[in-house]
């Protein structure tokens, strides 16, 4: 389990308009590219000063590839990051607040305590 890396994916994609579109159109390709090129990039260091140890589990890759926000929530990905990115990706296909309500409805079987989100 690497909640930090899930959060890093959501964070770096959400803040980049081009990556938001890539993740919408080609989630599998974006996740594979991101893990190869971005997962070990330290955001406040030069490109050469990389980490060496960060990788997704197969379940994490699958949740991201399948735009599966319910599984991401259950894995403890930060709910604010997932919500913000997924609104950017999917809200445009829905009426006002329709997507946000459906997003919550898909998780109605989840009760307290919610999964730990600490990293």
């Amino acid at each position: 389990m690497s909640r930090y890396l899930l959060d890093k994916f959501l964070y770096t994609v959400d803040r980049d308009p081009e990556l938001v579109e890539r993740y919408r159109e080609d989630p599998a390709g974006t996740v594979a590219w991101w893990e190869a090129e971005m997962a070990n990039r330290i955001l406040n260091c030069t490109a050469d000063e990389r980490s060496t140890w960060l990788e997704f589990t197969e379940d994490e890759r699958r949740a991201l590839r399948e735009h599966d926000h319910v599984t991401l929530f259950q894995m403890g990905a930060h709910p604010f990051l997932t919500l913000t990115l997924f609104i950017a990706v999917f809200e445009r296909d829905h009426g006002p607040l329709e997507y946000q309500k459906a997003y919550g409805k898909a998780m109605e079987h989840i009760s307290l305590p919610y999964p730990d989100i600490s990293t």
């Binding site: 964070y11 955001l43 406040n44 604010f80 919500l83 607040l97 990293t119």
Partner: protein, 292 residues
């Protein structure tokens, strides 16, 4: 010494800007009532005639990130650019630039460290909607210099609620010991019960109206000890998964002081979350003669 002209605590609702500026069919039915309440709230700051604003908020994973996460941070810079691409995208928020008050920022950092708050600092901080929302609601002309104070209510492990209250008390003492003739307002924003990215989000009301009712009572009556006795890092999960933002209200209760009744209290029950607005005048209501 500087004068604490007003203490203001508010929710920060990123949809206010769009709701208040929309027209025709795009204008939501609750917009007019919301704008009226905000205009009354704005007047409570205007009449305090502040020169400087200390702005307490919390970065929402914009500039501050998990590879280097401060618990409490003071921005010390001559200018603060504001709002991010994803806030423009989701909320329609405008880009802004605010002036900084570096002398007060330096005082808070030095004095804060000496009071055992190991404050982080930033000399180049882009601020987000936790600070620009109250600028838009309370001071839309954005003409006053600010000192941003960021708290971590977002990325656990979080500081305990009592540390938020203690920092609020310290901020008050530090502002009042700043060698300046300026009038300072301390403005902080947080949340009542709130759920983001969970099953209880975007309901007809906030996720826990009973928590909201009690929270408003704690804040309005200045019941700091009662609030601290009931609120813990664990208990804040129950009203909604983003309710730890309430700790910024607790910080502001620390600024206002134990037993300090708010001079202005207002709420607005919206879908998804309840809005709440509070103003205290530590040195009496401006323009009113204190009772003999």
């Amino acid at each position: 010494m500087a004068e604490l002209a007003a203490v203001i605590a508010s929710t920060h609702h990123p949809f206010y800007y769009r709701a208040s500026t929309s027209t025709g069919a795009d204008r939501p039915p609750f917009a007019d009532e919301w704008v009226a309440k905000i205009e009354r709230f704005r007047e409570t700051l205007t009449r305090a005639e502040p020169d400087v604003l200390v702005m307490v908020g919390s970065d929402h994973f914009h500039q501050l990130w998990l590879d280097n996460m401060p618990q409490f941070l003071v921005g010390k810079a001559p200018f603060f650019d504001a709002n991010f691409y994803n806030e423009e995208r989701e909320f329609g928020l405008p880009r802004m630039t605010l002036r900084g008050e570096e002398d007060l920022a330096a005082h808070l950092l030095r004095d804060g460290l000496d009071r055992d708050f190991d404050l982080a600092f930033s000399n180049e901080l882009r601020i987000d909607h936790s600070i620009t929302c109250p600028i838009i609601t309370l001071r839309p002309q954005a003409d006053l210099p600010i000192v941003p104070v960021y708290t971590n209510i977002f990325a656990p492990p979080l500081p305990q609620p009592r540390r938020f209250v203690a920092l609020g008390r310290a901020i008050r003492e530090m502002v009042e010991s700043w060698e300046s003739d300026k009038r300072v307002a301390v403005i902080g924003t947080g949340h009542l019960s709130l759920e983001l990215g969970g099953p209880r989000q975007f309901g007809e009301h906030g996720p826990d109206p009973e928590f909201d009712r009690r929270a408003v009572e704690w804040i309005a009556s200045g019941d700091v000890e009662g609030c601290l006795a009931e609120v813990s890092l664990d208990s804040l999960h129950a009203p909604g998964n983003a309710t730890h933002g309430f700790m910024d209200f607790m910080l502001m209760m620390g600024v206002a002081g134990e037993g300090a009744k708010a001079d202005h209290v207002d709420t607005l029950d919206l879908f998804h979350t309840m809005e709440a607005y509070f103003t205290w005048y530590p040195n009496g209501v401006p323009g009113e003669v204190a009772p003999a």
